[in-house]
């Protein structure tokens, strides 16, 4: 399943196997969306079909959370007035 198109369900998942290097090569071969993990784990954003493929390949797939397709929280977007106020404050009006 594509992870680049909006899909109904996708997950953040950690994939484990007995052989870390083999798991990485499999992830590479499956063209999955691997995101960084500071602990060195193999962390992915994947759809259900990809999860099933990984499990079928013998990997342990731990779903961390659902990653819904949604816009950025509007609370995190600067308003136009706030953006302008920041600039004005910086340059002294």
């Amino acid at each position: 399943m594509s992870t680049s198109e909006p899909v109904p369900v996708r997950f953040e998942a950690v994939v484990r196997s007995n052989t870390h290097e083999l798991a990485i090569s499999t992830i590479d071969a499956l063209d999955l969306d691997r995101v960084p993990d500071s602990g060195g784990e193999i962390r992915l954003i994947v759809g259900p079909e990809d999860c099933a493929r990984l499990v079928a390949e013998g990997y342990e797939v731990r779903l961390q959370q659902v990653v819904p397709v949604q816009p950025l929280d509007p609370e995190l977007v600067v308003s136009d007035s706030a953006a302008q106020a920041w600039f004005d404050e910086q340059v002294g009006g």
């Binding site: 198109e5 590479d28 969306d33 950025l72 136009d80 706030a82």
Partner: protein, 483 residues
């Protein structure tokens, strides 16, 4: 909080309107795939062409939201520090106004804050985990190209996290530089002098340098990416280890360490400097491409290319890509970028430019550095010592016109002496060089600089009729003794 594309653009535009003598805001040659303009800032003080240049790009991956904001704020901070003579204070790290002035006076700082405006818009309105640009897919399926796999460095080689499948998030596109967003970056690199480059991504707290496609090696210079096939959609040849010039590797490591320290100083975040491959295998990235240009195209200027991965992993990917409070991370990356810019200044080239009438006046010395000293481990330790200490030395040197003139004089005499490598070195030149170094060290008042000057003194004395060639042979066989 994150700015929209329009807000980012508006800051750049207003900054240029307010400070036209320091800021140029331009529209890059191509609109994005959805027709949005892409803009670049050039920030500097003074005039002149062909100055050293640094290019900072952000927002290549849409969901990595912090970095475009950090870059426009950096532009504002540079200008305000310069015009107001004020320090830039970032948590526990203070960047003195004199350091910012040195950067502004000597370099052109080019910034493309939001390389991928379509992607950012999509993140804010549809899917906050979107990574690619918004190139329409075939038959309406699977849109988007990973812009950081689309550059002309082993393009289409499906190593690691690189894919020829359009439905993946790491799709390379239909050809190298198939995307207008990457061609915009190419246009700057082609038209401006760019000595240092940073592509600012998130997350993982890393400072990455080449190569991304294979392990590095410094032994066999025939193992070059230029000999490998491209567009194969296959991984790199098994067992391949790419050559990297040991002098370049040393410089990458030295500068990365400086960047890491500048970030630590802000609030203690410990970034890791490492080869790009350490994160995962890649081809077609901006930073590897920009560094690889001088290898693929002999005669092209060498550009040191880095990728920063800003911000920590905070337990899940979404909050790591766009944390609710990005301000601390932005301060970290700002400090790191200032360190990178500072490290991009070369003291000897500056002396050539300011005192001797042009950087080309020190070409002979530069060749000795790159073609002789750099060929041995001992010689590279001398280069590394110089590069480490020059950051402290430059502000002192350029704050004292008389001292700068004396430095220019000894550099010119050293250059002239180097033109006849067999002639005995002039005792007066050595004496004057040591006197200049001693006065610089007095002004810096730094134990590392003192140790460096002592090491130089030991290397230069006694002169005893040695030729320039003899001195260089000594430096290439025995590194500095630092006590």
């Amino acid at each position: 909080m994150y700015r929209t594309v329009a807000q980012l653009d508006r800051i750049g535009q207003q900054l240029a309107q307010r400070f036209p003598q320091h800021v140029r805001w331009t529209t890059l040659p191509e609109t994005s795939v959805q027709g949005r303009p892409v803009h670049a800032l050039r920030v500097r003080a003074g005039t002149g062409e062909n100055r050293r240049g640094v290019l900072l790009v952000g927002g290549v991956h849409a969901r990595e939201l912090m970095n475009p904001d950090a870059l426009v704020e950096l532009a504002v901070a540079l200008v305000l520090s310069y015009t107001g003579g004020t320090d830039i204070v970032l948590g526990g790290r203070t960047w003195p106004a004199a350091d910012i002035k040195m950067i502004m006076d000597t370099m052109d700082v080019h910034i493309v804050a939001c390389t991928n405006p379509d992607g950012r818009e999509y993140v804010m309105t549809v899917d906050d985990m979107w990574r690619k640009n918004r190139r329409a897919g075939a038959d309406g399926e699977c849109p988007g190209v990973d812009l950081n796999r689309n550059c002309d460095l082993l393009w289409g080689v499906a190593e690691g996290q690189t894919s020829c499948s359009p439905c993946t998030d790491i799709f390379v596109g239909s050809a190298a530089f198939s995307e207008p967003e990457t061609r915009n970056v190419l246009s700057i690199v082609d038209s401006e002098r760019i000595d240092c480059f940073v592509d600012v991504h998130s997350y993982s707290e890393l400072v990455l340098y080449p190569w991304g496609h294979s392990p590095n090696q410094t032994i066999d210079p025939t193992r070059r990416f230029t000999t490998l096939p491209t567009g194969s959609c296959q991984p790199v040849v098994a067992g391949w280890r790419e050559y990297i010039d040991p002098r370049d590797l040393q410089r990458f490591e030295t500068v990365a360490q400086r960047v890491v320290q500048a970030i630590v100083d802000v609030r203690g975040q410990q970034y890791t400097p490492q080869q790009g491959r350490g994160l995962y295998g890649t081809t077609g990235t901006h930073s590897d491409w920009v560094y690889g240009r001088h290898i693929a195209h002999p005669g092209a200027r060498k550009t040191y290319g880095y990728t920063f991965e800003t911000g920590p992993f905070v337990g899940n990917a979404r909050d790591s890509f766009h944390p609710a409070d990005p301000e601390p991370v932005k301060r970290d990356v700002t400090s790191g970028l200032l360190a990178l810019m500072q490290q991009c200044v070369c003291a000897v080239e500056l002396i050539g430019l300011r005192v001797l009438g042009g950087e080309d006046q020190v070409d002979g010395l530069r060749r000795i550095r790159d073609e002789v000293l750099a060929t041995t481990a001992a010689g590279r330790t001398w280069i590394g010592l110089f590069e480490r200490l020059q950051t402290s030395v430059i502000p002192v040197l350029f704050a004292d016109e008389a001292l700068l003139r004396r430095a220019g004089d000894v550099v010119a005499r050293a250059r002239d002496a180097a033109s006849d490598a067999e002639a005995p070195l002039d005792d007066g030149l050595v004496t004057d060089t040591l006197a200049v170094l001693q006065d610089i060290a007095r002004g810096v008042a730094d134990a590392d600089v003192d140790a460096g000057v002592r090491a130089v003194r030991e290397a230069l004395q006694p002169v005893g009729g040695r030729s320039w060639r003899g001195l260089v042979e000594q430096l290439t066989s025995r590194g500095p003794t630092l006590r």
